[in-house]
Symmetry: C2
Subunit: 321 residues, 2 copies
């Protein structure tokens, strides 16, 4: 639940006056989101999302995210579009934080997506991968294999306090993945965080994608592996192979996976599970004093990783070779 920064009346009025959007009609903090403060802002001209970028989002990287959303929107991806100030800038400063006004998207994120939704999510991910191909900027994915050692360093002291033996489990997995991580697969712009909360539906049809603040340049199949981890496990921890098949089918309606990508997927899904296990573990062990955000349970991704470790082939993952 994310409103970390309070915005006072005068600062808000001064900020909105920089835009050609008329006078304010409504302003409410939104409980969704974890990293940044988000507000629903309405003026005579329409509705917007106002995002204040908190410390977790690197200010130097904001121009990448802004440019990417503009690029994707032009390519027909329904995603938030930065609104520019009269002076032409899309990034401003509000309450001491970098701030952007983004277009508002209709749609509802699903708590329990079904197989048909998974297919649509897969399709949208493939469209995003294609739409990003002629995007000129690049951004390294700090939360892929090269970043995990650093993440583990930040969490290893406390790992066994979360679950006995977790430290050694992660150390072994990390070593395995570093040795076996695939190279040279098709790559480009990835969303890198396409969980159900970041996908909107209208009457069961996918209507838009949000939250591009982990977007980066990485392997497409790794992005699909993240998506698979995020969408196809049930609340009881079981793997729903029907949903997985739907997601793969949806993806491949738009972009076919190569045989190298097929072969790499059992490793990539392990990597994706480890990435979220590690970041959640770091958050879990470093809850700031007075935090109003309850961190996600890291062990959810421990269990998903354990599932992936036991895979014998890609068919078990729902992929037809």
């Amino acid at each position: 639940m994310a409103v970390y920064t309070e915005v006072n009346d005068e600062d808000l009025a001064n900020f909105t006056a920089l835009y050609d959007i008329g006078s304010l009609k409504s302003f409410k903090g939104i409980a969704e989101g974890v990293s940044n403060s988000n507000f629903l802002l309405e003026t005579e001209a329409g509705r917007y999302i106002l995002t204040l970028y908190e410390a977790r989002t690197e200010t130097a990287e904001l121009p990448f995210f802004i440019a990417l959303m503009e690029h994707l929107a032009k390519k027909g991806i329904n995603c938030p579009q930065p609104i520019v100030q009269r002076c032409g800038k899309a990034l401003g400063l509000l309450a001491g934080k970098p701030a952007a006004l983004l277009s508002y998207l209709d749609g509802i994120s699903l708590k329990k997506p079904q197989a048909a939704h998974c297919a649509e999510a897969g399709e949208a991910l493939a469209k995003l991968h294609l739409a990003g191909q002629d995007f000129a900027m690049q951004r390294q994915n700090d939360l892929s294999v090269k970043g995990w050692t650093q993440l583990f360093n930040n969490a290893e002291m406390g790992a066994d306090s979360v679950q006995e033996g977790l430290h050694d489990f992660i150390a072994a997995e990390l070593e395995y993945l570093q040795k076996n991580w695939p190279q040279g697969l098709p790559n480009g712009i990835v969303h890198a965080d396409l969980f159900p909360d970041n996908v909107f539906f209208l009457s069961d049809k996918l209507s838009g994608l949000i939250d591009f603040y982990f977007a980066s340049t990485d392997m497409f199949a790794y992005d699909l592996a993240i998506c698979l981890n995020a969408w196809v496990f049930e609340a009881d921890g079981s793997f729903n192979v029907t949903k997985a098949r739907s997601m793969f089918a949806g993806y491949q309606r738009i972009r076919s996976l190569s045989s190298d990508e097929h072969e790499a997927l059992p490793i990539l899904v392990r990597g994706a599970a480890l990435r979220f296990l590690l970041t959640r573990l770091v958050d879990w062990l470093n809850i700031p004093e007075g935090a109003l955000v309850r961190p996600h349970d890291p062990l959810v991704f421990y269990k998903r990783l354990r599932f992936h470790q036991k895979l014998k082939n890609v068919q078990e993952l729902g992929l037809v070779p």
Copy 2:
């Protein structure tokens, strides 16, 4: 930041299907509010606030609040109006909690209201008092003088841990107020919690009132005393007499205060300050495990109460006798 209860897709769809409001377009948790869970819900028919009543709001009292909002809206007070289900009910059940769909009000609550806003708040409070006069239901104000002993019992053990000597200070004030609390003043429906977060403005004009869940039957002048405590102190703790005068003037443009009410106000403002000192103290000392809500600082109202204790006459409060 208040979303205590998660609403799943199926429950939400079933709930909205009970209303004649078309299909869902958007659903977002709202960070404002403390007692209940609030969501912004949009359908083809318009925008609504969905409120899930959490344990703090007595289920048995919900019909009073719902009927009051309906009554006040008919009397021209711009306040949320309960939307009724096809079967005629305004109260439903969602995710195991009593739930109501309310009309959405445009407007912004001010962080730093100015004197002109205080005048408008006073005026709106008086209009509310008049509009409630022919409302048929009654509800005892549990947070007035008769309820304070119970509140103090819940907080007295920990009072000195918040500030040395606070226990004895409150005990003495409580005794004084119980002996001197006025009787027989004009009474009727009071809002009882008209803080700036519960008042909306559009272009500096008051546009609506929200959050009627403390509304009850009590002395009008006590409601004004609450409002005064809530609006006219500055962030540094100083009393802004200009704002107080504006609020009294605004109130009296609609409803004149009697000489008995004048005389009682120095006691009533002490009572109002004690009421919020006590409830905030109870909340401060009883933060539930894993709470995502940061309680308000109780000592803000200790300082306001200390100010009121030193008043020599009503002029110092900003009231012309």
